[in-house]
Amino acid sequence: MPPENEHTLIEASRAGDSAAVEELVRSYQGRVYGFAMRMCRNAEDAKDILQETFLGMIRSIREFRGESKFTTWLYRIASNACLKKRRRGVFEPEPEQELSLDDLMPRAGPDGRKPEIADWSEDAERALLRGELSQQMEAAIDRLPPEVKIVLVLRDVEGFSAEETAEMLKLSVPAVKSRLHRARVFVRRELSGYFQDQRKS
């Protein structure tokens, strides 16, 4: 949607214009649904998150003053709804302690030689064409802890900046970068395993 149209819609929505609210919802519902579905992998939960997000939007749109982008503001509501769906168990480790870089760093050989790292970036293009890769990637992303997964989804799948992601999740920019890096390194390792198996067979 062109920014000037969006601005008009937001202003009308803030003034209580129901038709404008509905149009605003229509222009974002697909994107929010895709995000919710990727985060929770469950159609029922995604539907709840979607409804919660837009009800939240209607309730608080008067407080939206345009200090951040509308999308950032909306995704903050959606992100909260997603994370609320999966409450952290008492004994689960904090996200900062999960996926430590030391554990994720490729190990040197026992003789101190550098680890062998395959460059599968070309294989990835071929696997993508064959339509096999998306499923592998989604499965790898799903194995991330939710607080780390959401950072990868917002940054790399949805394409938000580190600053926008930090604002949505109420995290510092360095915390976003740290989670993103660990998430990418983890997914990269999972994909490496996949390509290694592919080469063997």
């Binding site: 919802v25 519902q29 680890p115 460059d119």
Partner: protein, 78 residues
């Protein structure tokens, strides 16, 4: 710069968030370190692949339900 130092900053590197000075240090390290080159290439590829993942479209009945919930809410507000 060690492999470990480089490994820690690789996402910032592929995202273009580091100073020119550090980028040059990383490039110098990579000239003599094949594993780090392969790691950097595949990490960058991982991020690119995420951007290309297809999203599930919203089913018409989910959109209809949403509209129903919102219309009810909006009419109560008046």
């Amino acid at each position: 710069m060690t492999c470990r130092d480089l490994f820690e900053r690789l996402s910032e590197y592929v995202d273009g968030e580091l100073s020119q000075e550090i980028c040059e240090e990383i490039q110098r390290h990579m000239e003599g370190c094949e594993p780090c080159v392969a790691f950097a290439k595949t990490l960058k590829k991982t991020a690119e692949l995420c951007r290309r993942l297809p999203s599930r479209p919203i089913p018409p009945e989910v959109a209809a339900d949403l509209r129903g919930v919102l219309v009810t809410h909006l009419s109560k507000r008046k």
